[in-house]
């Protein structure tokens, strides 16, 4: 059950929710992050998993920033 208070209909918000996507844990700039893997090989930071509040002020670690992972 999801509780949403939004002007966008749920059908639009959750469109593609069941399709799934892969998340992996990866260090970015020595900070543990959760990374969303895109179909084109480009990844984006999904979440910062750090206990240091300063990491959340680092502009390079903003969610949505695109990164390339090594092979």
């Amino acid at each position: 059950m999801k509780m949403l208070w939004s002007v966008i209909p749920e059908s639009v918000v959750f469109d593609g929710f069941a399709d799934g996507f892969s998340l992996l844990d990866h260090d970015v700039e020595n900070c543990p992050c959760r990374v969303r893997v895109g179909s084109d090989g480009v990844c984006s930071i999904e979440a910062v998993c750090s206990t240091d509040p300063r990491d959340y002020l680092n502009k390079n670690l903003c969610p949505g920033r695109r990164i390339f992972l090594g092979k």
């Binding site: 059950m1 999801k2 509780m3 949403l4 208070w5 939004s6 002007v7 966008i8 209909p9 749920e10 639009v12 918000v13 959750f14 469109d15 593609g16 929710f17 399709d19 996507f21 998340l23 260090d27 970015v28 700039e29 969303r36 090989g41 480009v42 999904e46 979440a47 910062v48 750090s50 509040p53 300063r54 990491d55 959340y56 002020l57 390079n60 903003c62 969610p63 920033r65 695109r66 990164i67 390339f68 992972l69 090594g70 092979k71």
Partner: protein
């Protein structure tokens, strides 16, 4: 059905650089570090010196800058140091579920520690929250709003475009809230999706959640409880939903938002609040020191003086 309004004259390029050019784990948008001949590299507006405002480069610099904007979709923002931190709440407020990629989201697990960092950082004196959100997860939004409301540092919120649904508690959580004249705020009932049992308990739970939101809004703004509920249950305004859309001036008149204004007014207000809080701190520190000196003869009550740590 979702309509999009796009008025940009520039194509929406992302600042992508191939992996071969910059290597693994490197942040993509650092265009100045990519020195290939084919790429457009913004010139240094200060001519290599720090502390300038970037205006002295002349026509060549302006040309380069406009080229970067048109080709790369990004502006060369001059370096400057500010004691104001800007937090943008955009798109959906994302809660416990990761939204599908078509949504622009503000992630509460990132915002909450960021607020802690802002409160803790000695370099940041005030927080400006800019909202253009369509709403989102109720509990995540309330968590952000509660965090903002409990901050000691001055917080000013500015609603631009829209601050709908759960954006309303976030906007009113600031010590001073502002709204642009053309911005709107929609107040409508909370929704539940997924498997919902058609029993009284489901309705009670939804009503309690709604009460929490309304309680927060009324306790952090001048609007009355009855007025919020009236706006929420209005059936004569929205075609596909019930609720009310409040434009800039209307939101101020009903007491939801403190003032109509834009970026200039919001920043001026925040700087004023920062100056006042600084004066207040100085006054309190002086009073405390005087009091302690009177009582104990020493401000640190015989212990090692804190200033000695320096």
């Amino acid at each position: 059905m979702q309509r999009e309004f796009v008025t940009s004259v520039y194509p929406s390029f992302t600042n992508e650089i191939s992996a071969n050019e910059i290597g693994a784990n490197e942040i993509v948008d650092d265009i100045s570090s990519n020195n290939n001949e084919d790429d457009i590299v913004p010139s240094d507006p200060d001519g290599g010196e720090s502390g300038g405002d970037g205006d002295g480069g002349g026509a060549a610099d302006d040309l380069d800058r406009s080229k970067v904007i048109s080709e790369m979709g990004s502006a060369n923002v001059p370096d400057m140091k500010s004691d104001i931190h800007v937090l943008t709440v955009i798109g959906q407020v994302e809660g416990h579920l990761v939204m599908p990629p078509q949504n622009k989201t503000t992630k509460y697990e990132h915002v909450i520690p960021q607020l802690v960092a802002v409160e803790e950082s000695p370099d940041i004196k005030g927080l400006l929250v800019i909202l253009n959100t369509v709403g989102g997860d109720v509990e995540a939004g309330l968590a952000i709003a509660e965090m903002m409301a409990s901050m000691q540092k001055p917080v000013v919120s500015l609603v631009l475009g829209g601050g709908h649904s759960i954006g309303v508690p976030i906007a009113v959580a600031a010590k001073h809230s502002m709204i642009a004249p053309t911005a709107t705020m929609t107040i409508h009932p909370i929704r539940m999706t997924g498997m919902v049992l058609g029993v009284q308990q489901s309705f009670d739970y939804l009503e309690r959640m709604q009460d929490r939101v309304i309680g927060f809004i009324t306790s952090h703004s001048r609007i009355k409880d009855e007025q919020v509920r009236k706006f929420m249950m209005n059936t004569g305004e929205l075609a596909r939903d019930i609720g009310t859309v409040l434009a800039g001036e209307d939101a101020v008149k009903c007491g939801l938002i403190d003032e109509v204004g834009g970026l200039g007014e919001a920043l001026a207000c925040l700087h004023r609040m920062v100056a006042e809080s600084r004066q207040g701190h100085d006054k309190n520190d002086k009073n405390k020191d005087d009091k302690n000196n009177d009582k104990q003869g020493h401000c640190c009550r015989g212990k090692k003086h804190l200033c000695d740590k320096k």
